[in-house]
Structures are given as structure tokens and as C-alpha cells.
Symmetry: C2
Subunit: 749 residues, 2 copies
């Protein structure tokens, strides 16, 4: 420790323009530190989870070493052999570096050195990758993004064995491999490197990591601040349709840290991509903290990196799976290695939150560095506490003023609403303003479809985005929100959508029995305002909490409104008549409608429509105040899907035609359970007798919910004044209601 | 213990025609015994799982006691309140009886007495149940079956509190409730009582249980031997279409024990119904063992009851879920209370197989009797061993000569084939000769659809069988077997199907790397023989075991053959061209075809068809030797299903038209894996380059499997001689093969 303290003093004394040499004189210093390694070695055999992690990784790496090193000539997309092989190489090299430091067995150092020299021999004459699909082709991989992954990991491996190499060996590696590699992904590919995007974050971190190991100030500046004159023209697009350069665009790691993160740590692309970007953010942030602490990169923007980890953990369901907002692959969860990194680093360099330890326990592995040791020691010492996820409202936008995502949770994730009123979310954004998904524990009640892609599965379009991602997954009708006249929000135009965001009307989770989030979208359709209010309510007489959904639309013109409910499960019962065609036809021609078959078409039987389903052994009922002129459409995904790229998921859609301003009011009510083992069917009926829109004008919208046993609940929303302090008075059906603040919920038993 | 031994001596001395009085002088003696209760009480607090089970059941029963007793006037089907309430009453009363004996708290005895007298007061004037659907309506429930359930459990409750009641009280209960109840389900409903059927088993056991408690010889005879003159005419049908009386029909508990069980313990209706019938079989068998051991009912037919439990446990997947042969609800498993009973009793009264203890550990509960105590003590003492499921061939039919079910397992249930070549299986049987399902661990690779019913869910047809059970689930095309000319096996005629069964050709699991089952069906279609051979093979060069499927048909006439594969998962890739209609139409008009939409129609691109899918994170490839004139149909269930009673499951179907005798040869090959967390796609390509039928005539069928890396494997089947000792010699492609026995598998690397 003494040595480290002296170094730290020197670092504090160092000025920004001082040579880096003095700081990088010892290795490892990037992620592992000499003091950290000493502590690890002193604790070996005494910290069960750490020891187990060492053993697991040792088994993995030893098996790879036994196989021998292969650095094939690149040729494949992400599903193919050469891609997988190079990926496994850098992952294994990084692990071997940690093992070398911890176990001090020379075979690991030799493995890394041999691998690096194989790459050195190959790289000099390597052309760009033969696959031509990417807007920024790499050399080892089909895109610069993956080449950057390689360098982020390899820099750590190099750091770990730096001291075992001769000066000549290091010169050779740096001159023939690392510097050309860093130049290739940066100055030779500014369209990849010089943006605000998760791709660029990886690129910046890669250049920065190797800069720190090599003590190269020029590269470090390029990592932090980007390329000054990138020669890019405005308006170019990447493979996902995202802009490459917009006016006034900043670049470099700090810009990437600044822009996509909101002050709450929400990452505008959504949790799936945040999970992906989090690794280079944290790992390079930490390297900067170790090597150049005075620059305070790690704590930049009021500790947004650590806040980002907290936001990310809160954007998971009860099973730890990320909500698939925007492009997100379902099933990705906090069990991914990037989140092991995030949890361990946040524990060690944040405030040692003992709740993080319970997630680390579930992950059942820790990093092989000082943060992993600290986590494993915390668990060993019984400090772990359950990670409690509460309701949370995460603002979007650099300054937190571009809408957001509200997550309302009742109980221990018994019911979780994910309400999206955010900005577009860059090129991975979907056109789904004011959409939502709903979970009971880890099960989807109403789903967000996620992306249309089989990540890394070569048979499906090389593992890349499928065309159905654009024709279905990104469309408005693919989401639980309002589609007007079968058009997408912003007509599906990225450049327009990117200029707008929804606005929070209010968010209030103070009363755990009535939690409300309300937001307004004014730009998705011309001359149209959509105001959606969602409340998670636990009311007497109801077995479980339910969701109240009020979607109020103002429009001067008559429109067709489609409000779908993507229920997960099998239809149980309904209270309306419908025709079932024997021949299935697509519901429309484009904007996603071409992928929906119409399995049934009906009309409400009265002023209320009820529809129940059974999903994951639990019952759910939708009750909606409908007009008799509404259409009720039962849809099934799968039309115009010749390659079977889409799941055969169902929806109930309420269609209201020839209507100007209108309001949809609905309740999604979880109830009861069914087990195929006990064969007991419990509480399979809705508790709602009637849902009525009892008032709806510019000032107030009021919904009454009549229970089957007689009591009536009223939810009143102030449409024009969201102030907490405003006092309201409203007479409904002869009864006077008085309250303070934007809403009232009252239940009369 | 002393007292018990004296009683036992007396029992042995008792002659068959001796009065029952001497044997039933002490209570409880039915399931719990006085000695058993003493032992339980002496061990309280010392056997963790037993103590936990007592506590759980105490919590349950105490909650019910706190709610108060309700015996509502019967009115509902199985999904409704009165049904559920009466069901919960008898379940709770039985548990309260056990608690009374164990805890000697009078409140439990009082609860049972009060409940019994409420029933006594109600029963005398109770009409038959108002719901009219059943062929044998009960009084408390819509069918006598459920009334019988009531009596089986209530007899145990009565036995437990027998000694707490006065003679007058007992007379009142027996004369006004129990005897009329027993008479109603037997002599007043012979069409229910006097059959060989799981319904009758419940009825017989119910009458027998109460007979033993009341010491009533007439009722006991009726239980064991049925009603001598039932007045039933031949040919009547029950609600499921099963015959009520056939010529020469026996009746009573012993007949039900004799007939549906094969000597191997396979129950002809299939595991789902065996699970249901097992409880009355075992519980009445055990009561007889306790009260009339000299009659040897429990060990009847060479211990077929205990063999039945073993068969049942072997008819589960790796998650303990029963294979859904015939009418079977998916998800039902050995976690059901009936299997707790079965496992505990089999452990105690069988040979104390320590492997049963590991299942009891998973069940995490034991019976509150001496068998449950023994199991819990065994677990406490560390005796539990893993329950190992091996390959097994279970013969069907009373004498074991009516076909059977072969289960081939590789490794630790890594691949499990369930091959059905059995008899019809009474009224719950499906028309699927030579069909199969395939599992990797607990996941279905190719499914058996199971039943079309939402058991006990009132919203779905009162929880009863849906019409889709007949129009889809029972049909031939709903199964992984051959349909000819779009007709069902035996034209879907139960009376014809019931007269036939398939025949085993041979079964050989001695070589764990090549396990084979082969059977012949000659009656399903006129003048047509189907011979199917299935082999689970683990071969060098293949990551996982695969299934080889040879279906050889002999027919004089030209037919259309449909061979479907109900794969579970999402289509990944294929090697053939197909057209995808934008409008979906049903594939046919009846026999199940009316429920299938055609999502794609193509032709083989050559002599091999390959088709891959991803299911549960694992890859699978079907490789089949096809003709260029074959049609390849991609189907999706759901047509003509207005109530959404069917799942939207998919199949690939090979259709061969205008063909007389022919052979289908295919391999189902599991390989690789995919995880949405690691996003690693491993071994997603088939290892098979080519599958060829190299010889196919009356004597031999030979299939060659060429590996992508070059080696070739050959499977040769002798079609005319299944003898183990026969020596064969065959020349193929210039090479001479010699072997002994019905098949050869050889792999040349």
C-alpha cells in the first residue's frame, strides 16, 4: 500500500500537461493495480466467491491454452467461426492477464505474449474485413465496433504482462500492432469514432485504454476529445439509420459521457445498449481514475457513471432482465459479465452499497481485481442485503429535460409498470411515444416486443438486425400505445422524431397504494395531442394491484385510433361477440400492419369491454370503457414473415373510427392463479363490474370503477393543472369531491 | 407396538368369512394406525421434513377452521365455487384428522364432527346435482366421480375421529350420510361404478374405505367385486365416448386392479390418468393391508401397485412432468399430492428404495402418517440417492401383450424418446399409433400436444373437455406419426381402435450408445402396414445424441402420406425453397386438418431436406431423405378455433403423394446452444452432410449418415427377422456387413 500512496501523491501533484511517464511507470495500473494484486494474493484461499471465480476462470483459460492459439484470417459475420474465435481470444487474454497477476504463473504471460505476437505478425498486412455490410468495416471483425472491443480487452492483457516483456518486444507490439490498430479505428474511421453513440464509446475507450498502457498523450487526447478535424460531412447515416454527424457535434469519450446520459443516469438508447456501453464507460473511467485521477473522468457529470449503474439495475424485472425498451434483446439481464463489472466497480468505488452484494451473490462471480475481492469479502462477511427496487422516474436527455421513463412498482415487484415518454433514443430508438409494458414479478403481462434480431446467430441475417426490425419492431403499432390512421409516430421519420420528446405532466409515487405517472406527447402526429396517465393502484376489495390507463387524445380532425394490448397468454373469456375468419388476412399494408393477421373482429356488447387471459399461471382481465361503434380486433403477428423472423404473438386492439378528440380508459387487472400441478383455479374472475368515464373535458377526466361487490372507486385527473398545491373541487353525480394536487383516487366501500 | 402385534396375530388367524368386528375394533386403522401414531408422536420435533409438513398442514387447516365451515347447496361445475368449496372441505377434513391424531388437539376432531353433521343434515334430502352434463351425476358435485373423491377422503377423516364420537353419533352419520352416500355412487349409478375405468376405481375405493371404517361386509364385497346384477345394457357410452359395459366385463376394485395395469405397471390410459387413479388404488390397497392383510389386495398381481408407481415415475421428463400420452395435461408432475402419497407409501411398503427419497426431497413434503415419517427419517439420516431414470420398455395390456410404450434415454435424460406403440387406452386414448415425442432434459424438442382442456377452469367449457379435444388433440395428424389420405387411424372409430394394438418388433437398450425400439402397426389403415424403428444414437463426431427415425409403410394402393414434426421453437434455417402465402387457409376440412393453417409450401431442393430451429436456447436440425416430388408443408395450429382453445404451435410436414409402399428416414439432431445473456451462439450448424436410404426392401432397410467432416455411419435393420441370434450378411456399395441380431450400427471415422 505504501508504494501506492506515494504514487497517488505524485499523481495529485501532476499538472495536466505533465508527461504521462511518471504516472505509468508501474504495471499493472489500468484496472488491476499493484496494491490491489498484493491484497488479492494475501487473501487467496480465504474468500470463497473470489476463490471460486479464480478457479472458474482458470479452468476456462487453461482449456483455451490447451487448445492452442488460433488467429484465423478474418472472414465471417458475427455468427461465424473467425468472429467467434477472435472474440474468444481477447476475452481469454484479458482473463489470462488477471490470472498471471494473481497466480504468478508464467504460462499465462507466455500465452498472452504469443497471442499478441501472432496478431502483430498478422495485422501489418491485414486488409479491411471482407464483409462489406458495415458503414465502418473493421480488420479483425466485420465492423470497427468489434475491433474496438478487442483493443479494450487486449489493453488490459498487455498491461498485465507489460513488465514481463523486453523494451524491444514492447516497441514491436506498440509500433506494429497497437498504434496502427488505434489509428485504424479512429482517424481512419472517423464516421465510427467521432460520434456520440455506443459505437464511438467503445472506440474512444479502446484508444484511451491502450494510450494509458503505452503512456501516449496524443492517443489519450484523441480518446477523450475525439478527432478535431474529422472531414465528415453532415447528414451521413450508419447501418441502423442513425446520423453520423449532426451540426455542433462533439466527440470523444467525455462527449459520450456527457450527452447520452441524463443527470439520472438514464442512457438514451435504453437499457440493452446501456448494458453494452457500460463496460467501456466504466472500465476506461476506472483506468483514468487509476492513472489520471486528477482529471476526474470517473466522477464526471456528478458521478453519472455510478448513477448509470443504479439506473440500469432499476430497469430490470424481478428476474433481473432488462426492460426491452427500443432495440433490446429479451433475456439479457444483470447476469451478463458487463454487469458483473458494473456491480463490482460500483460497490468498490461508490458507497459500498450492501444491496449490490445480493446481486453479486446471484451473479455468483466477481471480477478478478480489487473490486471483485471487496465484493466477495462483503458477501463472505454477511453484509449482503436484498436489492430493493422501488418506483423510479428517470429523466432522459443530457440536461434531463427530454421526457423520461417512469417505472411504477407495487410491493416486491408484484406489479411493475414501465412507461416510456422519452426522447427518440438515437438510431436504436422505436416510434412508441407514451407506450408501456407491464410485469407481474418476472413475467410479462403486456409485452414490449423488443428487437427483431437474433444476435450473433449467423443463420438469421448474419446475426445482424433483420429487416423486420424496421418493418415491425420499430413501428408504433408494435407497441402498447396509440396509432392514428395506421401511421407511425413522426411518420416513422428518424430525423423528425429525433427533434422531439414527450413531456412529463407529473409523477407521484409518494402514496404506495396509488402511484401515478402522466405525460403528454404533442408532436408524434400533426395537430394532435396525446395525454396518457397511468396509475398503479392497490385498492380494497382487489386481490392484487391493477393498472389504470387513461389515454386522452385531442385532435381537430376525425381520425382512426388503434389502441393495442399485447397480452401474453391464452384467451380465456370475453364479453363481446366477434367473427372468426377461417381465412387469415393481413390487417394492413405497411407501418407494421402488414405483419398482423386478423383472427377475430367484433363489437363491444355494451359500454364496457372485458377480455381475460391466462398467462404464466395467472389470470388477467382488461376492462375498457368502449363505445358501441368501436371495433375490437384480435390480431396475431406473423403475416408477411416468410423467414419466420417474428414470434406469433397476439393482441387485442380497440379501434375507434371517425372520431376527433376522445379518451380511452382501461384497467389491466391481474387476479388469481392456476397451477397444472394442483389443478386449482383460484379467483379466475375479474372483480370489476363496470368501468365508466364519468367526466371528460379540458379540465378534468374522471373514471369510476364499480366493484362486483358494489363499492365504487373514482379516479379524477386534472387535465390543465399538475401543480401539487392546487386545490380542486368537482361535482360528479351529485357528489362533491375536493382534493389538492393533480389527481384524486378515492374508494368508497 | 405391543398392542399392534397382538392385533396382527388376530388378523392372521381370522378366516375370510369371520366377522369384521374383531379387526376393526381400534381406530385409526385405515391409513394411520395406532402404532404409527405412537411412533409419530415419539418422533415429533426430531425429523425436520416431517415437522415442517405438520406445520404447513396445520397452518392450512387452522386457516380453514378460522374461516368457518361452509357446505353450500351444490350448483357449479368444476370451475365454480360450490365445487371448489366441497373439494376443499374433504381435503381439509382428511388433513384435520391426521392433525388430531398427531397433535391430539380436540379442535380438529370437533371441526370434522361439525362438518360431517352439516353434511349429514344436508345429504338426506339432497337431489342429484343440477348440472346435467355427466353420464353419472353426483349429489355434491356434478359427477359421481367427485362424490367418490369426497368419500375416499372423508372416510379417513371419520376413521381419525371415530373414537371421539358416541355410538349414537356414529349411527346417525353412518345411516344418514355414509351408507346412503355409498349406495348412491354404487347401486344407484352402476354405469359409473361397475366398470373398468379410473372413475370406477374411485367409486370402488370410496365404498371400500367407508366399509372398512364402518365394518360393513356387504359394502366391502361391493367394493372389491362390484355389483353382481347391475342391469346395464351393453354398448352405452360415457361423456368421453368410452364404453360403459362390454361383454364379459368384470367390476369392482380387484377387476380394476387386474385389467388396466400391465404386468409392468403401465396403466393403459396413460400417466396423467394413472396419476389420478393411483391415489384410490394405493390408499384403499393400504387400508386393506392394514385391516385385511390376509386378502393380499396390496400385493395383488405380483405387486402391480408398487410397480405402477415405479412405471409412473419413469414416465416423467427431467423436470418430473408426466409425458402427455393420450389425454394428459402438460405440467402435471410428481409434485402433485397423489405422487407424495405414492412415493411415501412405496418407500415404506416396498423395499425402502433410497432413490425415492430424493424425489420426496424435491416434493418437500411428506404424508402425515407412518410412511411419511419413514421417508422424512430416511432423508434426515442422509439415505437419499438420486432417482436414476434409465431406458425402459413398458408393456401394455392386462397380460402385457398389447403393445407398449418404449422410453429410450441417453445419459442423464440428455435425450429422451417416448415411443408409443400401445393399445387404445380406453376412452382417454388418442389415435396415434407409432407416435413419439422427444425431450432434451425437461424441454420438449418434438411435442405431443396433450389434451385440449383447461382442467377446472370454469371459463373454458366449465373446465371439462373442449370439443377441440376430439377435433384436434385426439386426431392422428396432431401427433408425430403417419397420417394416410388425411384419415385418422382406425377412421377415428373408438370401437375399432379398442380392438387393436401395435406390436413390438424388438427393443434393445443394452448398448447405451445405440438404443433401439421398433414396432409394427397393421390395423390402423386397411391393407397397410407401418413399421417404425427409432434409435437414440450417440456417435463419434456428434456433440450430442441424435434420434434416427425409420418409418416403413407397405401398401398395395397409392396413398398420400403426411409425416409431421411438431418442433418446439423458432425456425432458424432450411435448405429448400418454399412459397409463403400472405393469406392463410386451413390445410383440410376434417380429422384435425381443419385446425392447421398452411404458412409455407415447398419442395425439397434435392435428395435431402434439412430444417433447423432454436428452442429453449438449443439448436435442432431435422435431416430427412426426401424425394423431389415430396411436398414440404409449414403448418401452424389455430384455424377454426374461434374460442382460442388451441395453442399456436407449428410443424414441418413431409407430404408424399401417389405412392404405395415407401419409407421415410430422418434424423432429429440436437446441437449447440444459445444464451441471450452471453449472446454466444455455439455449434448452430448440423453435423450431417447427407442422409441416404441406401437399401430398402422386405429384408433390409439401411440408412447411411454422412458427417460434414467425412465419416459415414450405417444403420441396417432386418425387416423380417428380429431374433437376437440370427446372423446377417449384407453387401452395400461393395462393402460386406456382417452382424448378429435385428440391427447393425457402425460408424467409420
Amino acid at each position: 500500500m505504501k508504494k501506492m500512496k506515494i504514487t497517488a501523491l505524485l499523481l495529485v501533484a501532476a499538472a495536466l500537461n505533465a508527461p504521462l511517464a511518471v504516472q505509468s511507470q508501474e504495471h499493472p495500473n489500468l484496472i488491476m493495480t499493484k496494491a490491489g494484486v498484493d491484497k488479492i494474493r494475501n487473501n487467496l484461499g480465504q474468500v470463497p466467491l473470489f476463490d471460486a471465480s479464480v478457479q472458474n476462470i482458470k479452468d476456462e483459460v487453461d482449456a483455451e491454452i490447451a487448445l492452442g492459439i488460433d488467429t484465423p484470417i478474418p472472414k465471417d459475420f458475427s455468427g461465424g467461426y473467425t468472429h467467434q474465435r477472435h472474440k474468444l481470444n481477447f476475452l481469454t487474454a484479458q482473463k489470462a492477464g488477471a490470472l498471471y497477476q494473481i497466480l504468478q504463473d508464467d504460462k499465462y504471460a507466455k500465452y498472452i505474449r504469443d497471442m499478441l505476437f501472432q496478431y502483430e505478425a498478422m495485422y501489418q498486412d491485414l486488409p479491411v474485413h471482407p464483409q462489406e455490410r458495415s458503414y465502418a468495416r473493421g480488420k479483425l471483425f466485420w465492423q470497427c465496433l468489434n475491433d474496438s472491443n478487442w483493443l479494450v480487452y487486449m489493453a488490459q492483457a498487455y498491461d498485465a504482462v507489460y513488465d514481463t516483456l523486453t523494451a524491444q518486444e514492447r516497441d514491436k507490439l506498440e509500433n506494429n500492432l497497437f498504434r496502427p490498430f488505434a489509428d485504424f479505428i479512429s482517424i481512419e474511421n472517423p464516421q465510427f469514432y467521432n460520434r456520440v453513440h455506443n459505437h464511438s464509446t467503445w472506440g474512444n475507450a479502446a484508444v484511451g485504454m491502450i494510450a494509458l498502457v503505452m503512456d501516449d498523450k496524443e492517443l489519450l487526447d484523441r480518446a477523450l476529445y475525439g478527432i478535431e478535424d474529422d472531414g465528415l460531412e453532415l447528414g451521413g447515416r450508419d447501418n441502423d439509420g442513425g446520423f453520423i454527424k449532426v451540426a455542433g457535434q462533439k466527440a470523444g469519450f467525455l462527449a459520450n459521457l456527457e450527452d447520452p446520459f441524463s443527470p439520472d443516469g438514464y442512457y438514451t438508447e435504453g437499457p440493452y445498449y446501456q448494458r453494452y456501453a457500460m463496460y467501456p464507460f466504466l472500465i476506461f473511467g476506472l483506468a483514468m481514475k487509476h492513472v489520471k485521477p486528477e482529471m476526474q473522468v470517473f466522477s464526471h457529470k456528478d458521478n453519472v457513471l455510478l448513477k448509470g449503474v443504479d439506473a440500469l439495475l432499476n430497469l430490470t424485472d424481478a428476474d433481473g432482465e432488462f426492460f426491452p425498451l427500443n432495440d433490446g434483446q429479451k433475456g439479457m439481464s444483470y447476469y451478463t459479465p458487463a454487469l458483473v463489472t458494473a456491480v463490482d466497480i460500483t460497490y468498490q468505488y461508490g458507497n459500498q452499497n450492501p444491496q449490490l452484494l445480493s446481486i453479486a451473490e446471484k451473479q455468483n462471480q466477481v471480477l478478478l481485481d480489487q473490486s471483485g475481492l471487496a465484493v466477495a469479502m462483503g458477501i463472505r462477511d454477511g453484509k449482503a442485503q436484498p436489492f430493493v427496487k422501488n418506483s423510479i422516474n428517470l429523466r432522459d436527455g443530457q440536461a434531463g429535460d427530454q421526457g423520461g421513463v417512469g417505472v411504477l412498482r407495487y410491493g416486491n415487484e408484484d406489479l411493475t409498470l414501465v412507461f416510456k415518454y422519452a426522447a427518440q433514443g438515437l438510431s436504436h430508438g422505436h416510434y412508441d411515444k407514451l407506450s408501456y409494458s407491464l410485469y407481474e414479478k418476472g413475467d410479462e403481462v403486456l409485452q414490449d416486443y423488443g428487437l427483431a434480431r437474433f444476435v450473433n446467430i449467423g443463420q438469421k441475417g448474419g446475426g445482424n438486425y433483420l429487416k423486420e426490425n424496421k418493418t415491425w419492431a420499430k413501428t408504433t403499432i408494435a407497441h402498447n400505445t396509440l396509432s392514428i390512421n395506421e401511421q407511425m409516430h413522426f411518420s416513422g421519420k428518424y430525423e423528425i422524431a429525433s427533434e422531439h420528446h414527450s413531456d412529463l405532466y407529473f409523477y407521484d409515487d409518494t402514496n404506495k397504494n396509488v402511484q401515478v405517472v402522466s405525460a403528454i406527447e404533442s408532436n408524434a402526429y400533426p395537430d394532435t395531442q396525446m395525454h396518457r396517465t397511468m396509475a398503479v393502484i392497490k385498492s380494497d376489495g382487489f386481490e392484487k394491484p391493477f393498472l389504470l390507463d387513461i389515454m386522452k387524445v385531442k385532435s381537430e380532425r376525425k381520425n382512426q385510433y388503434d389502441l393495442p394490448f399485447y397480452y401474453m397468454g391464452q384467451v380465456l373469456s370475453d364479453n363481446f361477440e366477434y367473427q372468426s375468419p377461417t381465412v387469415l388476412k393481413p390487417l394492413g399494408d405497411d407501418n407494421g400492419y402488414q405483419h398482423l393477421y386478423l383472427e377475430g373482429k367484433g363489437k363491444p356488447s355494451g359500454s364496457n369491454t372485458q377480455f381475460s387471459w391466462l398467462g404464466n399461471g395467472k389470470y388477467y382481465t382488461l376492462t375498457s370503457a368502449t363505445d358501441e361503434s368501436d371495433e375490437l380486433l384480435l390480431t396475431r403477428l406473423g403475416a408477411n414473415d416468410p423467414d419466420f423472423n417474428l414470434r406469433r404473438d397476439a393482441a387485442l386492439m380497440i379501434r375507434r373510427k371517425d372520431t376527433a378528440s376522445t379518451t380511452f380508459a382501461s384497467v389491466i387487472e391481474p387476479h388469481g392463479s392456476y397451477s397444472p400441478v394442483s389443478e386449482l383455479s383460484v379467483n379466475s374472475d375479474s372483480s370489476i363490474a363496470q368501468l365508466t368515464l364519468v367526466r371528460d373535458d379540458d379540465k378534468y377526466t374522471a373514471v369510476s370503477i364499480a366493484h362486483v361487490k358494489g363499492q365504487e372507486s373514482i379516479f379524477i385527473l386534472s387535465n390543465s393543472d399538475a401543480a401539487k398545491s392546487t386545490q380542486h373541487k368537482l361535482k360528479l353525480n351529485g357528489k362533491v369531491y375536493r382534493w389538492t394536487g393533480p389527481y384524486l383516487y378515492t374508494s368508497a366501500l
